[in-house]
Structures are given as C-alpha cells and as structure tokens.
Amino acid sequence: MARKKKCIAMLLAGGQGSRLAPLTENVAKPAVPFGGRYRIIDFSLSNCVNSNIDTVGVLTQYQPLELNDYLGTGDPWDLDLNYGGLHVLPPYQAAKGGDWFKGTANAIYQNQKFISNYDPDYILVLSGDHIYKMNYDIMLQEHIDNGADATIAVMDVPLEEASRFGIMSCDEKGLITEFAEKPAEPKSTLASMGVYVFNTDKLMKYLELDEQNPESDNDFGKNVIPAMLAGGEKLYAYLYKGYWRDVGTLSSYWSANMDTLGEDPELWLNDDGWRIYYRHDFQSPTYLGEHASLHNCNCAAGNEIDGHVSDSVLGSNITIEEGAVVKDSVIMSNVVIEKDAVVEYAIIDRDARICAGAKVGGDKETTELTVIAAGEEVVQ
C-alpha cells in the first residue's frame, strides 16, 4: 500500500560547532546541554512535533556517539513511529563508494532514498543548533498559499549585525529578489534563520544540479538558494518575530541560557502551549540544604545544593557545598563545586570539579567569560 507524508523535516546535525569549543570537543553541537535539562537539538525536534511534523531525518557526521545515544528511538518526542518518526542518517558507503557529507545540500542529496520513502510534497530543512520556538506549520501554510517553490524563514536583525547572516531583499509581498550570504554592505536587515521549506521536486532538481557543479561547496546558503534565484524560481521570505538564537559562540550560548531566567523570561521553558521535550535521565529530586540560597535560578533534578547561587542555570546531579558561591553561570551536569569555591560569569562543562576555595571567573562587567572544560579539575 502506498503511503505518504505531506511534509517531512531534514535536520542538519552534523556540524562541528568549533566556535563552541571546548563544549563541542567530544560531542556534536546539537547534543550540547542547554537550559539545565535540555540539549540544543530538543528545540528543533520539539518544534517539529508541535508543528505536526512526525517524520524527521537527522543528518549526523561530527562526533555522533552521544547525539545518537541521546536521540535513541525518538521516544521522548513521540517520534518512535512505525511509519515516519525519527531516523538518524549518517554518511554511508554504497556500491559506488561512499562519501562524507560534503556540505549541507550534499547531506540531503545523499539521502534521497530516505525522502522518497515518504513521498513528501514539502521538505522542511532545519539546523539542529538553534534555540527557538517556532510553529513550522504556519510557515508551511504561507508557503502553500504563496505558491512558492521555496520559503526561507527570516528575522529582522539590527543593521550592524546583518553582515553576519545571509541577507534577503524582498518585494512588498515577501518575494525574494536578492540574496547575499554575509554581505559586507547589507541591503536589508532580513536575515536567514537557516529554516527552509521546499517543494520536493524543486529541491531535488536543484540538488542534482548542485551536485553536478564541481565548483560548488554544496551548501544551501552559498549555492542552492542563489542557484534557485538565478533559475527564476519563486522564493519567499517568511518573517518570524519570536525568540531565535544562534548559539554558535560561547557568549551567545551563555546569554541564551540566561534568557531562560527571570520572572517573565524571554525563553519560557515551562510553556504548556509549546512544550520542549527532552530525554530524561533518572535523578532523585533536588535537595536544598540548610545554608542554601537560590535567586533567579533554573535548577534541574538530582542536585544537592548548600551554597549560594544566583542568576544561573544548573543542570542535574550537581553538588554545591556550603559556602560556595555561584553567580551568572551555566553549570552542567555532574559538576562538583566544593566548599567556599567561587564561580562567577562562567560555563562549567560536565563532570568538572571546582575544588574547595578555588575561584573561577570574575565580575561579568569587567572580565571575559570563563569556560571550564568537561572533567577538568580546578584547584586554585
């Protein structure tokens, strides 16, 4: 019996995220912990299921072990389906040899067989390394209503930042007239979010052309989108106004974590209308000791806290001993902060230990962000 899906998602999760080092030393960027108990990829995956997209191919390449473990069968996102669901798509060997994914476009080109299994009318292409809550269904509907061949989600960014992004120029109906990847002199402030909807047949056509071009970097932003524009296809911009962060650098990663704090947080994680799902690790409840004080903090499970913590995001299974002070920091799971240690304006990666009396970081106004790598021990 023939079956099909209206729209499937292809989630690009193979990038190294080298600017996030050392957090990405042993783990792909989408699997980097975020907000106490999530991984970065949870946002894209949850957006998919919340937007009624139940078929997601996750393209992996760099350090996939932990990411694969984390994704598992896709059950935390209800993506463990018999037809559809979550599929990890690594590079593979075939009869005529095999290749690493040469670029974002090539990664999808190499997985045409997966796509054809679902015979989708539309393909949603996503990055696994952005923090945002977005209803792709609305974008898809606009794409259909416009009769577009491709739709690119865009954000209005400040002019001075525009040259960091792919910038669109559009007519009043949103039809894209020009696209420039990281232009020195941006003509508009509409920046691509790396979220695309394509008509399947058009995407396949241009992926094939891109593949035949030996000069191409096989990249969506650099090659495929300009080729489609040059080919006279109808490309529309979809203006998104909600929260979106590219957590590509340590400081943007830190500040996106901080966005989950406050009484009315910019990034509200406990939103019943838009749940962010994650894989659970079994932890006992968090215990706050006699000397504990927590102010403006997110705190996951399994922690034993007896120190002073403020304006920080805490993962799971963390010990913060009496007299320790943590401020303006992101503390990941299994970290131990011993007696009287001070951690300020820092990211402490998993399994690190800050020994008694040690001092990490400093005032966030006057010092640089400090990052302690996974498993490191700080004595002084």
């Binding site: 406990n270 079994f282 409840p285 215990y287 102010h295 403006n296 034993e304």
Partner: protein
C-alpha cells in the same frame, strides 16, 4: 531471574483513606517525584526480576497511567514484562479482594502462566531500597517454605494501626504471628513481603479456595508454623512506613536527612526509577528562600520553603511561607499564605494570605483540587 514478582497495589488503602479517595495505595505520590509503586518495581528490576504483576482492584486509573507497560524500568519487552492485573469476575463474585490471599487466589492464572520457580509478593506500605535477590538467596539457602521480610526498626509506624509482628527464634525461624495495634519495641515488624516456591504457592491457593480460607497470615502461615520452616528475613535497610497521613508526612520529611536519602536513592546499581514528566527545571525567583527541602522540577519558588517536600509544577508565590509540608504536584500557594505541617494533595489552590497549620501528629490535610 528465577522469581516472579507480584505487587498488591491497594492492600492498605484504608490506612490512608484521605490519600486514596481517587487513587490506589500504590499510586500515592512520595518524595517529590515518585509514587510508592516505583520503589517496588525498581527494587524488583534491580534484583533481576523480569516478570512483574501489579494486582489492582479499585481506583487504578492513575496507577495504570503511571506504570503503563513498565517502559521506564525497561520492562516493556516481548517475552517478559509488567502486567497490570485488574479484577475480573472470580469465584465468589466480589469486586474487591478483601486481603492478600484473595488477591492471590484471583490471579492463579497469572501465576500459572509463568514458570519461574519462586514467587515474591509484596504490599506497598513499607518503602525502602531492598535487594530481593539477596532475600531469595537466603530463602534457598535456608530451605524455607516461606521467607517473610521484616524489620526491627520500622520508621514512622503509626500507633493504633494494626501491625503484624513475628516471634522469631535464634535461627531466624518464625514461631508465632501476632496482629495488634501497637508496635512493641524491638519486635520483628512484618512488611508483607514474602518469597515462596511457585508450585507450593499454587497448591496452597487451590487448597485455600477449597477450604474457604480468608487470611494468608492467620489461615495459611500461622497453622503452618509448626510443621513448616517459615523464616524471617530481617533487613538492615531503612524502611519508611506509610499507614496514616501523619506517617506519610513524617516519611516524606525523613527524606531531608542526607543519610536516609542516600540510602534510598543513591545506592550503587540500585536506582529508584519513576516515570518521567516533561517539566522544565525548577525556577527560583529573586526573593526565594528555600532551605532543607526537596524540590522537584517544573516548580516555581518565589516565597519561603523550609523543611518541606515539593512535588512537580508547584508554584509558591511571593511572601508565601511553607514549613514542614508536603505539597503535591500542580499546587499553587498564594502570596503571603502561611502553611505549617500541611499535606496538600494534587492540584490544590491556596489563595493569598491563607493560614493553615497542623502538627506533625495531626497534619492539616487538604484534598485534591480544593480551593482554600
């Protein structure tokens, strides 16, 4: 594993009727994020048991919703797994089993279906991290017909609630079984956890139906004491009893003790697992003041919390003061409200500036979904 596990979900419903109006005993929430049955399923799976029957007769909706197919414990396997056994019309047409013996009788077909040579069956009123594999080893080694779990250090046993005591000789053999209302200092208190041979159990059940026997303890165990080897297995693990609302409060608050908490939750290779929610991390506001408390994820703490156990998705608003309380899932505590020794069941809404105060022996209990 050569042992089948059976859990009696509602054997002690009447002891804490306040908490069991809409759920069975085994589904009572405990320790900020668990339900009582989690401890028993986890103990069983940690001991290598792969087939578990959960016998439930009434109000089992929340229990079934919680355990489902046992996926959290990796029990949702093709060949083995967890089965919830709701009542079905059995020999005397009753809806509800009066006691453990009847519950066993009604589930003969389940026991018959499995070939494990031993059966462990337990009620859910004593919470601990117990190694049933060690208990089975002792059972086999001693050549006992029955081995009965007991403790000489029952924590939070409520005076006035019927208690089963064993008289035990120096070899660990049970010589007498007494049921009375008070706990004698140093007595061997039963937890209603038994191991016995499957074939023997099936035989006993057939016979007990024929002879219309009613009580496992009085009609089966006690008459057999003389001729059969019925052994006590005394555990050194801490066992928290739940047989009244005040012992429920006390047993929850006992988890604030680090040693006890570690003994229960942080045992090497013996984790207590529960069904995962999907809550965000707990959020502590600028004015929060939380000390010596267990606080689950998804909660928003803006007020003061002391010596308390707070379940998932509880909102403690500014200026609220909570002391010595157990606050179940989805409760809201209004601004300036003050609660002392209160037990709030699920989904309670306390309006601003309300004052509730009980005492450890007489907690102020608020039933589920009340608005005060």
């Amino acid at each position: 594993m050569n042992m089948l596990g059976l859990i009696f979900a509602d054997e002690h419903d009447a002891d804490v009727s306040e908490l069991t109006t809409k759920r069975t005993f085994a589904a009572i929430p405990f320790g900020a994020r668990y339900r009582l049955i989690d401890f028993f399923i986890s103990n069983m799976t940690n001991s290598g048991i792969r087939n578990i029957g959960v016998v439930a007769t009434t109000k089992y909706e929340s229990l079934m919703g919680h355990v489902r197919y046992g996926g959290e414990w990796d029990l949702n396997r093709r060949k083995t797994g967890l089965t919830v056994l709701p009542p079905f019309s059995f020999f005397n047409g009753q809806v509800r089993y009066e006691n453990v013996l009847e519950a066993l009788q009604a589930n003969i077909s389940y026991i018959t279906d499995y070939k494990e040579p031993y059966v462990l069956f337990t009620c859910c009123n004593a919470i601990g991290n117990i190694d049933y594999a060690a208990m089975l080893e002792k059972h086999i080694e001693s050549g006992a017909r029955f081995t009965c779990l007991c403790t000489r250090n029952p924590l939070n046993k409520e005076p006035g609630v019927a208690t089963t005591e064993y008289k035990v000789d120096e070899d660990g053999r049970i010589t007498d079984i007494l049921i009375h209302d008070d706990v004698t200092e140093g007595a061997y208190v039963a937890t209603h956890t038994y191991i016995m041979g499957r074939d023997d159990l099936l035989e006993i059940l057939e016979e007990s139906i024929d002879l219309n026997k009613k009580s496992l303890r009085m009609d089966v165990l006690k008459p057999a004491l003389k001729d059969s080897k019925i052994m006590a297995y005394e555990t050194d693990e801490k066992l928290l009893f739940i047989d009244s609302v005040s012992s429920y409060l006390q047993s929850n608050l006992d988890l604030l003790d680090k040693d006890l908490r570690c003994e229960l939750f942080k045992k090497e290779l013996r984790p207590i697992i529960t069904r995962a929610g999907n809550s965000s991390p707990a959020f502590y506001g600028d004015c929060s003041n939380a000390t010596n408390s267990l606080i689950a994820a998804g909660s928003v703490i803006e007020g003061t919390v002391k010596n308390s156990v707070i379940f998932r998705n509880v909102h403690v608003k500014k200026g609220a003061v909570i002391e010595n309380c157990v606050i179940n899932q989805d409760c809201t505590i209004g601004e300036g409200a003050m609660l002392n020794y209160a037990v709030l069941d699920k989904g309670v809404h306390i309006n601003d500036k309300r004052l509730l105060s009980g005492y450890i022996t007489h907690p102020f209990f608020v039933k589920s979904k009340s608005v005060i």
